[in-house]
Symmetry: C2
Subunit: 143 residues, 2 copies
DNA sequence: TTATTATTGATAATAATATTCATTATAGAG
DNA sequence: CTCTATAATGAATATTATTATCAATAATAA
């Protein structure tokens, strides 16, 4: 989703939950929206520190959690890596190719796999809500 | 894989790496092999404590890690749950259905999904080594 | 303008796992 | 068998990431 849409989704969520629109919250939101696609809480905190050294670590965590709840971000926890927060792209769900050498993520999508997953779940009397597919291996740069 | 095969795989690994076959190591191995299919380090430790209270937590962790390296166990980290160690079944790789209400795992497999995953990776110039597919939702007991 | 209460920053707490280190025990050499 | 090098252990401590606590502050709605 675009920046405007993300801002609106987030502020709608804030209003709906009767939370408050603080300057720290705005700044953390903007820092997140202008960050790379997969960022750790720590790296986001560091970026924010440069401009606004008065904003604390806990506040960044709290607001990342809020952004996830609002639907504009998603927490991705892979193996022993620390959590990364990803910008949600409403246009398309995707899976991840994860390089076991350099750790980089690549986003991919396959409609047929998606459909088969739903069928697989239903065959097992399971109501699927969401899923995560991670394929580990070597990316083109690391072979 | 069967118990004997797992024991052999592990002891071969120990020998190859010029490590040592201690009594603690044997006991932790046996406790793991006779445990339920997905067990946390803590629960395994508790089980071991009943019989051998002199074995320490760190030793259990160290040996679980070794078992993973040797290929008879796999560490599975899902969301905020603590890591679970799973017996590797050489006969068949599988994916997980994970109930978001009760937290239980269900093991499933679909050959067509497996094949499509390999193709998806290759299409992206990526050499797949292993993968993890987790489908979250509600199991039959929790709907 | 004021009252309510969400939010903040600093700090402490927590939880899981890893590391340190002195002591013990194993495997291989002789 | 004995000796020696060093892997392994247990206890305690450290680390790492994330959360909770709490007094002070600030946003919202009346």
């Amino acid at each position: 989703m675009g920046l405007k849409e993300a801002r609106k989704t987030f502020s709608d969520y804030i209003r709906k939950k009767e939370l408050r629109n603080t300057t720290q919250r705005q700044r953390i939101l903007e820092a997140f929206l202008s960050s790379e696609r997969h960022i750790t809480a720590e790296d986001l905190y560091k970026n924010i520190q440069k401009k606004y050294p008065e904003i604390g670590f806990a506040t960044v965590y709290r607001n990342l959690k809020l952004m996830c709840e609002s639907g504009i971000a998603e927490e991705i926890k892979i193996g022993n890596q620390k959590s990364k927060y990803e910008h949600i792209d409403l246009k398309q769900h995707h899976d991840h190719l994860i390089c076991i050498k350099c750790g980089r993520f690549y986003e991919v999508f396959d409609e047929r796999i998606e459909n088969l997953q739903v069928k697989l779940a239903e065959k097992n009397d399971f109501l699927p809500v969401r899923h995560r597919l991670e394929i580990y291996g070597l990316c083109r740069n690391c072979r």
